[in-house]
Symmetry: D4
Subunit: 249 residues, 8 copies
């Protein structure tokens, strides 16, 4: 289901083929297709013009496949995050054209490759271990129609590594910064650029990192004013918010 | 100091009136005017085209006044957040045209009223007590050149109050949501709009709100994908990030 | 053992067949049948007219089976929560008529199907992953003699999904709301209905959800006055309290 | 505004004196009377048949007085919790018939003394210092039309004090238990009665009580199945929930 | 090595067979027998007249066996706590007369069965799941020469179960109380007896029990003055302290 | 009221002057004298042979005075902890012979100076700032009939200061150790002595001491087996438990 | 008392003027001069050749003055940290030559100005508000005989401010970095220099800074290997450790 | 790559064989060799003269081997921490001369055995279980060119075990102390020596040790002024900082 279905609905009303009451009723029922275990909500896609999203974590391969297949029928892009290879195998059997982005742990179905974003989204990671989270942001931003550039392993303890990319980074229209441990990178990047910075704390670290809490607190207390924060390891959320900012017209 | 000073610098180099070395040296020293207790950093204004900002909390009235006066000389807008009336009185003696926004606890000097934002920024608060934080966001967004609309006391326990404003809210290009207690409002708003939502947890509440921690955790775990979060009570940060998003060209 | 046994006891005293002292002594010893590893307490059933309950978690299949069989002999309903299939297999060998409710992870023996509840108990879950906790509440309420209606996957980020069921929900006499992540749903539901809402935080989420802590704090700080809270993932407790409220005469 | 106003509205529609559109419009606007700093929401009263509630904490005396006066005009009961004497003085000047319940820190206007509750609500406190929280529950339950009995200073370290009141307590239809420190009392009471127990952790204690956190955690982990919990020091919430349970018909 | 070895040392000095310097030197070296991975400290046994203790957790079976064998040579009692069956098997091969106490997860070598305790130590557990911790306390107290009586599954939600044993419990000279979940039992027991109560929080529970934190905080805030607390699941520590109290002469 | 009153009661029954029923009734009512704001519980004194205790914190001077006067009438010792000078002044007006122990912040009425303790209780403090807590333990132990010796300012960073008192300390029958900051002293003392050590964490410290949490956790994790712990700053509890241990016969 | 007193002691033994036993005895008693409320420990000064230190916080002016005066008699440097003006006034009356360092809140008596440090200690602060903590480190390092250079207000959000001082900072032999909020500065500095960095989290910040906890966790998780950390706001400790490193020979 | 490569670069510029621009360009590109998943940063080695370090945790055997081999080519020492046997096997296939230090879980390639440290580094562990962390510190210090002495199993509950090594410990130029549970050892050691103490909290313990949090807090609050702290289980960091201190010239 896409915007066209709704335009059609209103056209039918205009042409007198449908009473307003009936139209309202149809609208109310259309977007809820009960799969038994989850109400697939097409309204969300409708409202935002965004791809359909599935959080695969905690779902069985067959559940992921069933939801994915149903969503794929509406003709837009579909993204399943936190997916493992078994879940991908199950989806692949039912849906043609899907791809598994291993680093990002994402299943992707890209039917629409329209570029919605106006500029480049830069995705930066502090360490090698933060890459899976960064890649989740990359995949999300790409499927939402953005040009993405990434800069990995440029943590603050070797500030020259970050500064070496300064010129490229400052050209971005939005910046995503993924960092675990002390989570200091967003503050430094925030000071280098004049655009919104989405900070993603990662659970990388040990001991007093408390599974990402240290990085999270650090980012929330950033002394750079252009930083906002999403949940620990939430690369998807960062990619999603960045895409909304980049497409804003 | 503004962009012109730097253009002039480079022009002098081009014309051979200044050696590159001397220019570099002048550039390095220019932006740091040592006031004895704080290095006023004009580079930040330069980079972002943003007003000068002072966090008044923890500074004496005379310190605030001294920094404010110095910044005011550069001709742009100046905003002092978390300011009390004594600090305002001290500033008023030294700087003409300043205004005290009581609800927002902000001292404002608006010399440049250019509209930079492309759309409207909506600022929403859950309860009456969250208004000071919301107002700090409003003032920040206004001085950064945005049109702002606010919707106060529309918390989730009376969802019809929020829905009554739904049409107006969905027209905004960025939405700021301030809420204490359980901090549920950003998730609901996030589901209603298709634009970025900046969530601001407030310290309003008691007992297990732990001074805003409950609201902060709630917002970080939002099931709406378009929500990012700033520090507890950080209305300024939300206004700042929203302004960057709204002006993005 | 049931209320009749005690009435009999008193009758025997009235008829002079038993001295008061002997009766007291018998009463004191009756309810404690020592199984070696747990004192089975029939007093609890007696007092509340409720089914016997076993928390299976942390017990071996044979322990669960032994306690279940003993309780089943007293003729009332028996409910074993947090049970796995192995525990069910062990019980099934010893007790006839037991049933395994897989989603709810519960072993059920329903001998008495009297309807004790005066109205309907509504059980609402925010997401698909919260269903096991919600189902535990459903099973508990059902075995305690209530009519239950459930509404799943109606989280706050798509508020229209909840509102679509508003009419049905407002007819309930008690409402149970299960939600993980930000735990915002009970506040919204609490604002829609005029009856008691039992909120159950679930451990669904990641990162800063801290295994349900975020949802728990959110619910404790609910701005809706009709919300009270039970432990994380405690679907049983919610079903139990709701049943007491619904039967209150 | 009360139910009659709405009945009138529908009557006017039935009689053709008002178009449905106009009626909808009037309904939408009626309940929101903008006081400038808070939207007074009469819908809530309408829905629940409950008194109007004001949380006085964090409001100025004149704010409390203004909201109180406005609410009082609708003819129902009004309750301002967490109120101090200055706030009471301000209210008293504007509203006739108000009363200050010092122990409970509550301002009360009781115009309607109808008994809505079907049974007795028992309010129990563990220690002398928990009494203000318990009294807030008492006042709330009373103004909502309930008969209330209280049992104070019956903490678990002297279990005979509680047991001495056992007979009276077991006659209640709902029980509220307020306790600080280790918060053990609700579990013991929960085991004595067969009705819902609302547990209120209080911030009484020192050191590792962490301002009520110890009591809160204790109550959430209660081994008694009939216990649900409200926020620390939230006597009002407990009284409100208990009233809903007691009136349920 | 026991007290006799040291008496012999001093005797030799008295008789002139050893210079004081040489004696001091021998004393200094005697108690440290370096096993390569741990310094076995016989001084401890010497000082307290207590059995040798090994914390088996985190040690390999062969490490446990080696330390156990070495300690066993000194002729006193030896206790290895938190031991699994593999560790027991390894010990059994090297040391005669050892016994595995399965419930308590303890390896015991009791060569000396002298009764050191003056009275009875009562060990109480709230639930069935707390028994392993309680049994660790029982084994510890027994090997340290005490008469122990236990009372299991007498939690506070069925207070009559505890009261049924009141007479027996009040005869004890020290009481150990093990409880998870809300940890309320020590306060109730503390109010029933006039002797020291050692409270042991257990990690039994789920959700907001936070692995025993709730019980720990509850016990630290006990309103009974005769309660002191040891670490979560530390049955050994409780048994040890109780033994010292019971033997105090 | 003391043991004599109860003996008299039973004597009257024996002599036929009172029916058993009447005696039971009188016993049930005697110990509860309702002062309006607190039930004074003489049973506690009766059971334990201990002085009456008042926690003055959070009570008004007149409340403290009223309770103190009532308790004083029963002829035993009375101790009011956490008392300030105003509370003492109020008590002094009503009760003769009371004394204010300033360092310990305690009001003391010692009518019975019987020595109940069999040995010496040693009270040790790590730093100068821990002395008020230590003194509360001292006063409590003294009024409960013990000989007390104290050793102050002997923290672990200057271990020779502690070792200088080793001989005296090892003669004690129970040891109380008060320490803030890292709370390491109980472990060291626990290793030096063979008797029970009661550890009292104090709130002394700053930053990451989190008001005594660091010391509390340190003590709970003590590697010395003879250490048990009471609440932060709970000098009274430590003195109470130590007295019970010391008097145990 | 200084090293000379002890040399004298041994000299007297060598010359036979004192028996070894008497010398040992004198040594044992000398360093402990009991002031009634604190044992002044000259051993510490003796061992480390360091100034005497007083933590003034929580002490009365007269207590600070008494300890200061006593320590001053031994002829070395004396430093009272966390001192207010009243405490300084009290000290000034008793000790000549003392100085109050207002920013650092320190009372200083510098009798010995020997340079012990081999290189320069750099003290860096992130923001203006961190200066008091940084100054405490400066004063401590100076009185311990070091050359100190400071660099204030060079936080990470304007990384060019820090880099402008890079050359000077890399010349230091030890670096102290004070930062609140996200505490990111030590990681960046740690990456720039090849010497030990002592990180001092400050309590500057609000909301999720949790009084310095965010900065503390950030620093403990620093990705720079040369960073170690002291307590929140512990400028003194940082200065002390840095001095030991700088003097190491 | 080592210092010689850079000297060569500058020499070529001096001799006119390279333009400054070309030299700058070469310098910029040289240290970043992109391995695809991590930027190997030779600058760090260059700056500090330190071995190359790899954190093996979370990396696959082939990733560790690839990075190790690349780093090994530059001719200096290489250390891979937190490595398991599989990772070692992978490295061994590619690099000659590597060694696996099992206790320390470290892969070591020592090509340069120059002694950089001026004195001895003492590494102390409280218990047997802390040894792996201590050994990580030992290996790190050794490969960085230091003489190391270790003292294991000398925890505070048997203070004589520590004091027995006092003389040896006080000869060290830096001391590293590893301790879990209550983490008290650094304070005691800090009081015994006059040199910097690096405290390493370990995750050894159970219950309220909260995986090293108790030890961490204890160490941060140490009453000994010469203690600074690194992350939980961070033996590497302690060895690194100690090496920098020991080599400082």
């Amino acid at each position: 289901m896409n915007a066209k279905s709704i335009q059609l609905l209103f056209e039918q009303v205009r042409q007198g083929k449908l009473t307003p009451d009936a139209a309202v009723d149809r609208l109310r029922h259309l977007p809820f297709e009960d799969l038994g275990f989850a109400k697939v909500d097409h309204h969300r896609a409708l409202r935002a013009g965004m791809p359909e999203i599935i959080l695969s974590q905690g779902k069985t391969p067959s559940q992921v496949a069933a939801i994915f297949a149903r969503l794929a029928k509406h003709g837009g892009n579909v993204l399943a995050t936190r997916a493992n290879e078994k879940q991908f195998a199950a989806v692949k059997k039912q849906v043609r054209g899907v791809e598994y982005r291993e680093l990002a742990r994402a299943i992707v179905l890209q039917k629409d490759a329209t570029r919605f974003g106006k500029g480049v989204i830069a995705v930066i990671s502090a360490g090698t271990s933060d890459i899976p989270v960064a890649e989740e942001a990359v995949v999300t931003a790409e499927i939402m129609g953005n040009e993405v550039e990434h800069f990995y392993d440029v943590g603050v303890a070797g500030i020259h590594r970050l500064l070496a990319h300064r010129e490229a980074i400052t050209k971005a229209r939005v910046v995503i910064v993924c960092a675990g441990m002390e989570g200091a990178l967003p503050s430094v990047v925030g000071g280098l650029v004049g655009v919104p910075v989405i900070a993603v704390p990662t659970s990388i670290g040990y001991g007093a990192s408390f599974n990402g809490l240290a990085a999270l607190l650090g980012m929330l207390n950033s002394c750079a004013s252009n930083v906002s924060v999403v949940n620990i390891d939430n690369g998807f959320g960062a990619g999603y918010v960045a895409s909304l900012i980049n497409r804003s017209t």
